[in-house]
């Protein structure tokens, strides 16, 4: 029972990350119609950036994390300004399904390459914000970083609900999700909203990367895999329902942990990805993935 409980706790921890990434992907897709395949790379920047600043440059933990988050925000803003603005607003680049995937796919690889160049292939972990050993209760062992991640995920989840339901900007994002053209007609500035949400989600991902890295460690190429899981979790919510995306993200984390514990530690991800692919292919309409972009 304690094994099961510990696996569930571990699953909720990784699931919390996937859940937040899935929510970030969903909210941004609603306003931009672009999938953020680089969301995991922003987490990588947060994790490795904070670790490097704290370990090599001797910065205290909090400022190191803040600087790493600011770097992720700057990159996101620059990406929107240099690439997405001409591509989507001036219709300079590809549209349709190519735009949905390829711009952020390319950004992900650029960020991965830059991280490899700057930080090498070492494993990095930012200093723990809440230092100390794992906490134990009733046979369950929970790392302090995991508690922080889960708590922050709950806070962010609630914040997201409040943002979407009770703020003008959130309602504008919801309106854009329903109809970009309709939202524009009633005065919603989709471009500004897209940029703001991209920057905000990049910052959130960087924060989660920095907080979670003491548990798993981050390498330059950690980003694409976690991005993909976030995107798939968002896909299960048709890229439109952040709440459902959060639930699927959590479920994926728990499933991954249970498969790793009871079936195979080596092939847990293979089994999980295989199951996800089968579900996507078997019931795409039920997931809301039938929309054509092309």
């Amino acid at each position: 029972m304690s094994t099961f409980g510990n696996l569930i706790v571990a699953g909720i921890t990784s699931g919390a990350i996937y859940a937040i990434f899935a929510a970030c992907v969903t909210i941004w897709f609603r306003v931009s119609k672009v999938l953020n395949l680089a969301i995991g790379d922003f987490a990588m920047i947060g994790a490795i950036g904070a670790a490097k600043l704290a370990q090599s440059d001797g910065l205290p933990t909090a400022p190191a994390i803040l600087v790493a988050i600011a770097a992720a925000a700057l990159i996101a803003w620059l990406f929107d300004w240099v690439v997405l603005h001409p591509a989507l607003d001036w219709a300079r680049g590809h549209s349709g399904v190519v735009a949905v995937f390829f711009y952020t796919f390319a950004l992900s690889f650029v960020l991965e390459g830059l991280a490899k160049l700057a930080f090498g292939t070492d494993v990095y972990a930012a200093p723990a914000v809440w230092a100390g050993g794992a906490l134990s209760a009733g046979g369950l062992h929970v790392q302090r970083a995991a508690i922080l991640v889960i708590a922050l995920a709950v806070i962010c989840g609630l914040g997201l609900v409040i943002y979407l339901r009770y703020t003008v900007s959130g309602k504008a994002a919801t309106a854009s999700g329903q109809s970009v053209t309709g939202a524009r007609i009633v005065g919603v500035d989709g471009q500004r909203l897209r940029r703001r949400i991209l920057v905000a989600t990049a910052m959130l991902a960087a924060l989660f990367g920095a907080l979670e890295s003491p548990i798993t460690g981050y390498v330059y190429n950690t980003g694409p895999t976690i991005s993909l899981i976030g995107v798939v979790a968002a896909g299960f919510a048709a890229f439109r329902h952040p709440g459902r995306a959060v639930l699927f993200g959590l479920a994926m984390g728990i499933a991954e942990s249970l498969i790793g514990g009871y079936v195979s530690t080596e092939y847990n991800e293979v089994i999980l990805y295989g199951l996800l692919a089968v579900v996507i292919l078997m019931v795409p309409q039920r997931l809301g993935l039938q929309e054509q972009y092309g």
Binding site: F109, L114, I280
Partner: protein
């Protein structure tokens, strides 16, 4: 497609914003002549480079060329956005390597068996994959490289991280140099044949149906096109070519590692396609050889490959969605326009004199 919809001069505004009068969506040559030119150019280049490192790069690039020819048909013309090419590239490379090193098959037997195996795998998986509408297809196929990469890295049978070495060349020569040269020449000949087949498909009635489907699925269905059948055929075609390319690359390099299955391998293939030109067979082949050359022969590029490939893809997507082929086409049109205006201004001058 050259004789079909895609070759018709159009007055549309292209996705990349290329306003224009006449814009040729494709200026590919006749299948036989084009394929022969590709094969001859490849064979001559291999003979000139011999068994040098440049020869190895070209031979590998020709192997990738086989893969991107399939991608031109599948992604470029038909808009079937499946991220399964690196998966089938790996399946082809690993299958031929396993059949040769573990089961003692000759190269020809191994390549033929690989083709048959990949066709069966593509057909069976395609029955499910190609039914996926909208974003489900790219999403599900994005997971394939992750699944196969992890399988290959953890499987002792597949050689784990070290992969499988000792893959036989397509033709065994007296020395390493002659073996590489001959293998590269065979790869060029295979590329020629593959290009011929792709051109024939695109110029046939099936090619017209694919173009119609890419433009508007509802319209194509209304015209009587069996979407499910065409999607499946496309997927199988692209997958078989990817597997064949994988078998050729394994033979040229004599080794297969899990890297061939990674997500970055998929991006490399997409960059090759988009840099050259997603709707031009010769341009996509040039893209494949060019990217392979840059990634292996230029130390500054190879050590920063991810940055270069990602940045190149962004630049192409933003500046010239039709890649190198589109750029050349644009230059040709501008030159033609310039020449016409010059001749127009000369004529009245001559008449007055």
């Amino acid at each position: 497609m050259s004789a079909g919809l895609a070759e018709q001069p159009t007055r549309e505004r292209s996705p990349g914003g290329m306003t224009g009068r006449l814009r040729w969506a494709a200026v590919d040559p006749l299948p036989g002549a084009g394929a022969l030119a590709i094969a001859v150019a490849g064979i001559v280049a291999m003979a000139a480079l011999g068994g040098s490192y440049n020869g190895l790069t070209l031979a590998t690039g020709l192997g990738y060329g086989i893969v991107v020819v399939g991608m031109v048909v599948q992604i470029g013309y038909s808009h079937q956005l499946a991220f399964s090419q690196s998966a089938f590239l790996g399946i082809g490379a690993y299958a031929s390597a396993l059949l040769e090193t573990k089961y003692g098959l000759s190269v020809a037997e191994a390549v033929l068996a690989t083709l048959a195996l990949s066709a069966v795998v593509a057909l069976l998986s395609g029955l499910f994959i190609t039914r996926a509408p909208g974003l489900a297809l790219p999403l599900a196929t994005l997971l394939l490289p992750l699944i196969l990469y992890q399988l290959a890295t953890f499987s002792q049978y597949l050689g784990s991280f070290a992969g499988i070495s000792g893959v036989l060349p397509l033709i065994q020569g007296g020395s390493y140099q002659s073996t590489l040269t001959d293998t590269g020449m065979v790869a060029a000949a295979i590329l020629g044949v593959v290009s011929f087949v792709a051109w024939r498909v695109l110029r046939s009635g099936v090619g017209l149906q694919l173009a119609a489907t890419a433009r508007d699925e509802s319209m194509a269905e209304g015209l009587g096109v069996s979407l499910r059948q065409r999607r499946l055929e496309l997927f199988v075609f692209g997958s078989i070519l990817a597997a064949l390319g994988g078998a050729v690359i394994a033979s040229v390099q004599a080794i297969v590692t899990p890297d061939i299955l990674s997500l970055s391998a998929e991006l490399t293939l997409l960059v090759m396609l988009f840099i050259g030109g997603r709707r031009s067979i010769p341009a996509a082949i040039v893209g494949a050889v060019g990217i392979e050359w840059l990634s292996t022969r230029q130390p500054s590029v190879s050590s920063n490959l991810l940055i270069v490939e990602g940045a190149l893809l962004l630049v192409v997507l933003l500046i010239e969605p039709e890649g190198l082929a589109g750029l050349l086409r644009r230059v040709a049109l501008q030159t033609e326009r310039l020449l016409r205006s010059v001749s127009r201004t000369r004529k009245p001058a001559e008449e007055t004199t």
